[in-house]
Symmetry: C2
Subunit: 403 residues, 2 copies
């Protein structure tokens, strides 16, 4: 059921594709998401925000306002400066001091990642990635067939900075290291302050570019905010921000905070990818932010997602086996669960979907090839109400008990 | 004034960028567009649609409808099938017989071009390009540092198919040939039917993928529609379509018609670039099309753009020197002008902007490195009223007469 589908033989088999596409397979994650997106499935699988929390009315008003105000809203145009100003303010809320010249607007944070990868990575180059990490970065580097230097991740303190130091001391000079310091996807862990400081020091000492992916930084449910890497270093950190999780994914709007000197090259790369991001979306989001809606919206999101996280943590305690362990995320959308060693979460998923109509993502979907264990899973808590979370985790606990 | 700006020295000069970025320069075209986008300039420079023709009200209603109907409109989601159905119908209006499985939705046609390039082109591979051609394709291939096989273009019949045949006969097997058979940008010429047939036969015989860029195919002002390459061959043609010119650029919505067997690989490439195109935009455009607005809108666009083309052709006859020649486009947005040999249109532009506040794009902005002549220019006729066109061409004629 969850095997990777093979591309059927093509009638144009003679058509010579670029060599890197030979080994290409669709992200296991995206394939699984398609499989579990059946009606009636209670899904903890996706990284989906809660649709009932989307600011549809306020954003609709913002759209109407900009469509009515100016025909430029539907035209080609340069990056929208008032939006950049808002992003500078948002970054200040994250403790990052930057200016408009360092803000580069993108069609979602995935584009920011792809554009920076194109800027930094040569074919066959080296990159440092965690063994378990967001699949989008694994996809972004794949055309370059890079040598991946893997590092492990501690579930309490984040990626192994000593392993990074060891690679650098051995003489490796990777094109970049990719990190999700806040609310790691899929692990749910946030990096300790000591590790953040150690990492940016290494970056400056050895000249290691850091790509900091921060889609969840504004979604915090407990504890004090730690500074993003970009707040600790402005020269070596490429910060990726996104409106997908704090407003809505369908905006396809994100940003990069990068050294201003690199913006001309980033602009050329973005132009080759999609010319520019939508003027309408840029202006409507700016109008939404102008209206002052965001702080209240973020507060409501944090309250609601915090309730959902708490519900899931409580339900896990009640319904999962005593030998299971899981992360306790202070923010973000995900909890990472390690079941007893002998369990295989791919098999578990099949039973969970067919018998109990509950879905999650097996942990190995996020593993570098050859890494990851079979007994882990990722649970999303943002997309279901506390009641459905309690129900679904109870059903999942039943399936686990039955095997 | 129009020299290419150099990137200033970077404080992070040690930062090692990917090698292909060394020779990168911003598209001369995009730089010029920025320069001439000053208030008070009467511009024939951009490839901008007429903003007063944008269907802002109807599209606004479509947005409100989908925002009100379904919270899924702001969520992540798979390509929107009803939009694919509409695109199949649109393609039928272009004489192309295809099905939903062959439609691949993209964030504008530039993304379609970038995705297909990533699919087909290896680093250091070969591509066939016209000596004078849309700069977006020159940008899309640049990361691969390809060997470009140049071909010339006849201003009455389109690209030199005999030159293509010669390359293939010599044993070249390029990754693709890029063509704009209908209303070439910047030349304004459409390929003759005989050449279209000859080209697709070559493609099938030698296994040459053809990328057919068709942003202007729906904008026709005279004569009979000729079949797109994709109507003549379904195996070797990758057809790029766009809503930018027929609805609005700020939608950032386009499509690819490709062999269905390649859609899984295209999907992986698109995911690495921007995950997916906006659900909101896909649904709103589908709702706009559901409402049946497009045929009337296209008819109005063709009438108005036809008037503007006629106004520019008449003004050129009145105000440009007798030795000048220009193309007579049956559709699209551009007229290509060749001035007497001794004239330099880059110098002309400086005078035209400073003395007469009129702008255009010098032809060499579209030339492959080492190609193109100094005495050509591209004029856009879609973005100005007939009255402004008459005024601007008269002023431009004055500047030409004065040098």
């Amino acid at each position: 059921m969850f095997t990777i589908t093979q591309t059927p033989p093509s009638p144009i088999q003679e058509l010579p594709l670029a060599r890197w596409t030979d080994g290409m397979s669709r992200s296991v994650l995206r394939q699984m998401l398609a499989v579990v997106a059946q009606p009636g499935i209670l899904s903890f699988a996706g990284g989906l925000p809660a649709p009932e929390m989307f600011p549809a009315d306020d954003y609709g008003r913002a759209l109407n306002q900009v469509l009515g105000a100016d025909s430029g809203a539907l035209q080609y145009g340069p990056p929208f400066t008032p939006l950049k100003r808002h992003i500078v303010e948002l970054m200040a809320r994250r403790g990052v001091d930057c200016n408009e010249a360092q803000i580069f607007i993108t069609t979602g944070a995935q584009q920011a990642l792809d554009v920076v990868t194109r800027l930094l990575l040569d074919p066959g180059g080296e990159v440092i990635l965690e063994e378990i990490v967001y699949t989008g970065v694994q996809q972004a580097v794949s055309p370059y067939q890079p040598r991946i230097l893997p590092i492990d991740t501690n579930l309490y303190t984040g990626l192994n900075v000593d392993a990074v130091a060891a690679y650098l001391a051995q003489g490796h000079r990777p094109a970049f290291l990719y990190a999700i310091p806040e609310a790691h996807n899929p692990l749910g862990v946030s990096m300790s302050l000591a590790k953040r400081q150690q990492l940016v020091e290494l970056a400056a000492t050895y000249g290691l570019p850091l790509i900091e992916d921060d889609p969840y930084g504004f979604l915090r449910y407990e504890g004090e905010m730690l500074p993003p890497l970009r707040a600790l270093d402005a020269d070596w950190v490429f910060y990726l921000g996104s409106f997908s999780k704090i407003l809505a994914p369908a905006l396809r709007l994100g940003w990069l905070v990068a050294p201003a000197e690199l913006v001309p090259k980033l602009t050329v790369i973005k132009e080759m990818e999609d010319l520019e991001s939508s003027q309408l979306t840029q202006r409507a989001v700016a109008a939404y932010l102008d209206a002052g809606h965001l702080p209240g919206h973020l507060a409501r999101l944090c309250t609601e997602y915090g309730r959902r996280r708490d519900a899931m943590l409580a339900a896990l305690t009640r319904h999962f086996p005593a030998e299971a362990r899981w992360t306790h995320p202070s923010n973000g959308m995900f909890i990472w669960v390690e079941l007893p060693e002998h369990m295989d979460t791919a098999a578990l998923l099949e039973t969970a979907v067919s018998h109990e109509k509950v879905a999650f993502i097996p942990g190995h979907a996020f593993a570098l090839p050859g890494y990851g264990r079979r007994n882990c899973l990722r649970l999303n808590f943002s997309n279901c109400t506390p009641e459905r979370i309690e129900d679904g985790i109870e059903r999942l606990g039943k399936v686990i008990d039955s095997i």
